[in-house]
Amino acid sequence: MMAKIFIDDKPYEVDGSKNLLETALSIGLNLPYFCWHPAMHSVGACRQCAIIKYKDDDDKKGKLVMACMEPVADNLHISIEAPEAHAFRAGNVEALMTNHPHDCPVCDEGGECHLQDMTVMTGHNERRYCYTKRTHNNQYLGPFVNHEMNRCIQCYRCVRFYKDYAGGKDLDVFAAHNDVYFGRQEEGVLESEFSGNLVEVCPTGVFTDKTLKKHYTRKWDLTNAPSVCHQCSLGCNIIASERYGTIRRVLSRFNGDVNGYFLCDRGRFGYEYINSKNRIITPARLVNGSFAAITAGDAVQEIKAIINTENNTIGIGSPKASMESNFLLRELVGPANFYAGVPAREGKLIRQVIAILDNGKVKTPSLSEAKTYDAVFILGEDLTNTAPMLALSLRQAAKNEPNEIARAVKIPDWNDAATREAVQGATGPFFIAAAHDTKLDDIATGIYHASPDQIAGFGNAVAGNINRQLNFVAADAEIEKLSDTISAALLAAKKPLIVAGTSLYNEAIVQAAANIAYALKDRGKDAGLIYILPEANSIGSALLADQYLEDAFAQASPKEAKSVIILENDLYQRMDKTATDTFLQYFTNVISLDYLENATTRNSTLLLPAGTFAEADGTIISNEGRAQRFYQVHVPKNDVRSSWKWLAELMAAYDSSPINLDAVIDRLTAAFPALQAIQYVAPSAGFREDTQKIPRSPQRYSGRTAINADMHVSEPRPPADPDSALSYTMEGYVGIPPPALTPFYWSPGWNSAQAINKYQIEVGGELHGGNPGKRLFEPDPNSKAAYFNSTPSACSPKEGQYMVLPLYHIFGSDELSAQSPAVAERVPQPYIALNDSDAGKAGIVEGAIIEILLSGNKKWLPVKLKMGLPQGTAGLPKGLQETAGIIYPFYTTIKIAGND
């Protein structure tokens, strides 16, 4: 519904369902605000967005109202510029400032502080109050977030995000009136996996990034690149920033179709491994048992010679590496010699997921669209740990059904306080079938804990309820009852969403989830189906290869000495140690392209330093099938570069001319026409805005004539970027670049991240130029996809043995982020989780050390109980150093250590 309103006597056509603050900002007017947030809407707490509202055309006086709490109405007259409104806003800021500390020079928010911006905007520039200031003590909040409570302006955004939006329990508001305090009940690590968003949500410097503090740099001095998080399969959009050759921080990059305004803490704080001392920064050759650095030219010549003398070098790709790098390795060694860098069980599962996405029978919604579903059924995923931001999206989805209560009494969606009052914390239909407790249990309306096969059987029973033609029956009466409840709820919903994934390595779960979604679709429901995959480019790398690590291991033999090129992949993380040792020993030359020293690089003979997402360009494909481009942040002063650049140098075909990203993508899409969309993910390197490149640094970037002056007083020429339309300086186009090429947000008067308002067509909505990324799989109304007829064995645990399942940890299960110092503080110690009654029967108590057989080796681990594991199963934390290389699930025996 459109409405016509008059702001300061100028007419505007606006969306009638919004409030006046959103409307004014969407038009592009500057109206100060603090407590309103586009993702969390209005509560009217800060009184900063005051405007004058007139009764009608003749009303000359009007009354002062808060724009964020007033709906748009047809023929409404308001004024932002009226002197009374102006004076009120300036007075409000002046009042807030009476207690504000004299901190800006040492405040990490300075230069991107919403409070600074709003203070300047209201025109308050002289302190008249000269009495004492209130002070607060700070709290230690863990390795991620710094606390400086003096700077608080009581806007309540932090608790509204932390508690209401993200479901956190340990941050709250204390005390009263002038003394209100935002913190924890007592000092301690913030428990929420989304705590880092406080840094961006808080309009002041109360909550700031502790990892940035270690090497503090102001926003204006950072060189930034639009990038994509590589730490799980969701592909959240990020801005990564550099100064003096190291990566300083990661911020959320708004993508209305993916992560919106937020990130999880693994994505935000897991970047520090890029600056690690263990980085491989120069090519090296193994001589007499230790690595000796060689020049890039020598390394390339040497490897070229190796490849030319024997014609069947094999290549092992990686789900962590970009499409471009995987593709060029495949070209270099030939498709027959190229292997996806994952075990077969995982690889086949990923291809199964791709087949389901590809048939298009049901829609796979984006991360952001997941928020619009009103009934959710999760099968076998611990989302908070395997796909954190999806857990955050689903928390919002759980509010949709109860929010109808508020809508029924005509409370508009943007009125957050009233909506919450009406809903009283109720949640909509939300079901979880998992192998153990998960952090989403608090909003679940039904929970089922079972072994992976039983979860699949349960899923099929739900599908059988929805589509009676399917021949699935529930295992027992209790399960039948729960599956009835779930199927009824899914059928009653407007938009039911099914979520599953590969984390339990169970094909039957993947298929059962599809069965439910298909059944709903066949009953005419607008169903959604989301799969979670193991890594950032799992889908992409699986599209390029259908041979797996086992195949590579099987074909290697001592008779024909060959060479292997391993791309950004630590095989010891994925395969059994002994098998990997044997495999690598078969090769005369083991050439690794990697970022960090690891077991595989230590067993290599030649190393090439590969760029992480911060030093490389490329494309990765997220779990949704969205191809997204990430760009190099800076040109390091060492030999680190994109893997595909190394590979291009090794390829004879590219000998003559230097090859750039676009050329690789052209070749890739020529070889894989189905991946054509990758070409259109972002503008090509030749793109110019107003004849200019897009600068990676803001206009105010400082120190250009001094940064390198210690080495040489004449300024070096800034590096060129042949691969993108971005430049490495602050020179270039000033204004709003295409969204896929937006390295930072800034607009006159808006120095904080909230300048994003100016980059959106409508605040909180799509970006000018469309949300970046191209989806490879779209729903197909004519899809004839068939149901899966798998009937998983109702696997009863083997007598005297435990089925060991992987347990995921947001901090720890991803090997790279776990090597970032701040994240490392949160990585759990290795343990083994047991079912409580199993443990009781065996006389095992919490913390007891038990002996377990892991790939033939005895290991001793402390026991954890109360994790909700079903009987007969045990769990090990996935991806820790101590649990690397395990292929799940497996059966094993355990016993109390010392009892023989």
Partner: protein, 171 residues
């Protein structure tokens, strides 16, 4: 004719005027304290480095010749890890001093910095830091700021109340 003679006369009597040319460098002119010459980094009344590494001078500099990195000691006190001014670029405009919120960076009445080798015009922190307060004595930023950086405890600064007891019930 008359005007030529007048000009000659006027030129002639100049010989008896007071000389304005100063025999620099034998004689040196008086430069007022606010003269904008060589840049120094000063110390606060407690003899601690005043610079808190806020980057404001660097961003104010129109020729971008200041570069630094902030760091923190164990008490949370900020200072510059390195601080570099490339005087071969500096135009002695004084914007940095104007921008500095702690009175740390100051321009002093010394301009004799000529070098044969341009590289020697790059000054590092040890070349810039002096042992005194310069022309603005008395100011100690951390006594005014809200942060506890080992200079004063929370609530002990100038114009600060004792920290709020958030558990008290009285209004």
């Amino acid at each position: 004719m008359f005007s030529i003679l007048r000009s000659i006369w006027l030129t002639f009597i100049h010989m008896f005027h007071k000389r304005v040319t100063v025999e620099y460098p034998e004689k040196k002119n008086y430069l007022p304290p606010r003269h904008r010459g060589r840049i120094v980094l000063t110390r606060d009344p407690d003899n601690q480095e005043r610079c808190v590494g806020c980057y404001l001078c660097a961003v104010a500099c129109p020729v971008d010749c200041i570069s630094l990195q902030a760091t923190e000691d164990e008490n949370g006190r900020r200072s510059a890890e390195f601080f570099r001014i490339n005087f071969s670029r500096c135009i002695l405009c004084g914007y940095c001093e104007e921008a500095c919120p702690t009175d740390a960076i100051q321009l002093i009445p010394d301009f004799e910095m000529a070098e044969y080798n341009r590289q020697n015009l790059v000054y590092e922190k040890e070349d810039l830091l002096i042992d005194g307060q310069g022309k603005y004595p008395g100011y100690n930023f951390f006594k005014h700021a809200g942060v506890d950086a080992g200079v004063k405890a929370k609530g002990e600064g100038i114009d600060e109340e004792k920290p709020v007891d958030i558990k008290k019930l009285m209004p």
